[in-house]
Symmetry: C4
Amino acid sequence: MSSSWRDNLIRHIHPGEWVRPGLSPFSIVVIGSILLAVTVQVLETESSLTDEWRSVFSSVDLIVGFIFIIDFIVRWQFPAEPQYTGIAGKLKYLVKPGTLVDLLAILPFIIHPYLELLGANDLAFLRTLQLVKIMRIADLGPVSRGMDRVGRALATKKVELSVTFTLAFVSIVAAATLLYLVEATAQPDAFGSIPRALWWSLATLTTVGYGDVAPITPVGQILGGFVAILGVGIIAMPAGILASSFSTITIEEDSREKK
Amino acid sequence: MSSSWRDNLIRHIHPGEWVRPGLSPFSIVVIGSILLAVTVQVLETESSLTDEWRSVFSSVDLIVGFIFIIDFIVRWQFPAEPQYTGIAGKLKYLVKPGTLVDLLAILPFIIHPYLELLGANDLAFLRTLQLVKIMRIADLGPVSRGMDRVGRALATKKVELSVTFTLAFVSIVAAATLLYLVEATAQPDAFGSIPRALWWSLATLTTVGYGDVAPITPVGQILGGFVAILGVGIIAMPAGILASSFSTITIEEDSREKK
Amino acid sequence: MSSSWRDNLIRHIHPGEWVRPGLSPFSIVVIGSILLAVTVQVLETESSLTDEWRSVFSSVDLIVGFIFIIDFIVRWQFPAEPQYTGIAGKLKYLVKPGTLVDLLAILPFIIHPYLELLGANDLAFLRTLQLVKIMRIADLGPVSRGMDRVGRALATKKVELSVTFTLAFVSIVAAATLLYLVEATAQPDAFGSIPRALWWSLATLTTVGYGDVAPITPVGQILGGFVAILGVGIIAMPAGILASSFSTITIEEDSREKK
Amino acid sequence: MSSSWRDNLIRHIHPGEWVRPGLSPFSIVVIGSILLAVTVQVLETESSLTDEWRSVFSSVDLIVGFIFIIDFIVRWQFPAEPQYTGIAGKLKYLVKPGTLVDLLAILPFIIHPYLELLGANDLAFLRTLQLVKIMRIADLGPVSRGMDRVGRALATKKVELSVTFTLAFVSIVAAATLLYLVEATAQPDAFGSIPRALWWSLATLTTVGYGDVAPITPVGQILGGFVAILGVGIIAMPAGILASSFSTITIEEDSREKK
């Protein structure tokens, strides 16, 4: 009887144990709290909002903080996997990587009031640690299965992706070196050294193209044009490789289902 | 006899009932009116054009408004599906979602003159509602079948696309948080809070790269460079996933045709 | 005997008739002339170069002009297809579309000296017509076969590409309308009308992102962020569709070769 | 006995001969030296760093220079391929292309001190030659196999990629010509000649979009909008082609493995 009640609780609090489609009510509350916490963390950094909304932000912080603590304690005390039962298991649970994420998310909630009392406003950035809680979303049943499939897709083309990355790295350094050689005298601020030219080179080869710096000499613009065309290849190659690997994964799964 | 005349009319006014290739003359007139209405709506907001072209715009508005009303009335009175015949069916037709689009497109045409009489020029934006009529294009035979196929392609990779979206969302928030931490003091206007930094983060990770704001500190630029490279992945992943799903749909349809 | 000499000439002057791998010497000279003509046309518009290089440019213009005229005359007088032989065939050749391209490329060469004598420098832009000659490259054996294959790849996914184009068109107009509604008062120059907002909308949805105009109000930036994310989809959809269609073409050709 | 020791050495110094997974300790040291040399070369161009870090940079230069020389000498004296053994083979080794890369990487290390003594600081750019050493990474077992596979993927779609490149080239020239014709009078600096307009045309068609130059006339902006849409196609086509070719390579290799 007691065991059945416990089993039911475990199914509710561990997303991976939920047998019905969708998410358990408990998971929905936790996800909602995470999204709320992230939103509040993000908005709280904007001083023009904090004056008016301070009490709302504080209340939300308090509520989601308690939800995070309760969520952690129940998952700790009622683990789904047998290896985390018993005293030894509970200690083992405390040092597994997932727990670090949970504790980092709880930490700012606990230490923040003390920091405020001490006037340590410079440590306010510690609060952004709460954002790591967002990684809990990866635990959810469908997301977790999807992550797994995306991970396998990336793994099947590991070699091709490494080659693309190597070519991209060499292109970025080579483009920065060339532009440094031809533009350094014309624009010492933007191209006066290879590290400075790297900023332009990265923005161009990823096709971001901020435009805060751009070659102005004719030779620099001709080289810049070739670099921009190379950038199309650097976008197209990983897209093509990923397309091929997602197709392979799909075909493999389809043929497995038929068997 | 009368029924045959009615059947013929229904075939002309409902794009889905048209049996010959291409579009019925009635549909071509409606599509032409929609494109004309959209063009005029767009141009009418430009005050440098309205002075000279006012009468042309008004005439076009009047004509397409009447075409929209006639189009709605005949499709309402001569429905293709049996469930919309009879008094009860005609009332049911009025509350289906497609009707809302039709009525929103007609509404500004009807209420605009009254607003002008009342001098309520501030409500001119109501006219842009007419733009929703553009959604009627989705009703057209080929577009509707294509939409369906694109929809199925997206549905087969729902999980992978959700994972990509989640990763993109986490990356955007994480990039904004990091740049806020390192650039806030150097550029308080652009990176003084996470919501402000989000604008840069979005522009970079989508490779849009406006360049109105960009990191200027060395650490900010190094982080910005990694974010730009991450942006290539955020473009490449959905492209790869969609490529794979369109291939799957094509293979499925080909093997269905062979059977 | 004479016929054999004629056959040999025809094989040399019509790229499609060339039986050996690569291009005939005649075609190589024509292609070289086209690229040279294009380069000179492009450089001649730059006044800082014309002073110093005028005589070189004039000489090149003269030489490639004669090559274009000879190229046209021999292909006209020694046609590869039987339908263009005889007086009637030769007249028919003069009105086929390909001839228009040839004549447009020759025209500026013939009329330019007269325009210069008349002092009609305003008509200098007529010279750029010579650039259409570049389309002759599409006649080349491998390029022509490649064009054909790319054309078929695009044709197999005509419906999906039309849907993508329609969605992109609707997105561009909708994004411009929304930004016009929220940014018009803050930036009347850039967003004061939908046609003005279209410039921003196009630059964002294609991920070009010039940054000459960008939303500055909070609501405008939030909407702008969603538009930028939508832009990723507008890049990813055609890439995915084309990937799938090129795969289909490859599979079809492979299975045809096996038969 | 001596031969066995020699075989062992050859296995360690030639990445392609290494039989165990991963890289040999010797290769790891060489790769580490290359990355270190590249990093130092890049940082040394930044004058704000050289004052403080001069001695560190010099030490690293000295150490990696010796490692490069040793690496070259042992690979030269103990070649893996029989054709490079003996006096004749050793001379043949000196003129193969790979040796040029090695010597270019060693050269600046040897001649730099002499240049410094002569006060020829203007030749400092010679040091960047050391960056070519980065190409040695392509020799590594997995990278070399990956390069090979990426090369074959590109080769299977050579014709389609050439067509895409030709279309891109024609589009870039055509876009620059059109914008020159409509924007030259409004913006003589940016669009006063086709070569100048090419800079805008390249930035737009590759979706880089610096925004340093952009059309400002209504006609120029309408044309610019179409060019931006064309740019999406220029990104999507190679991505689609590469996706298809990587899929073909994967399918071929899978069917070869089954046999």
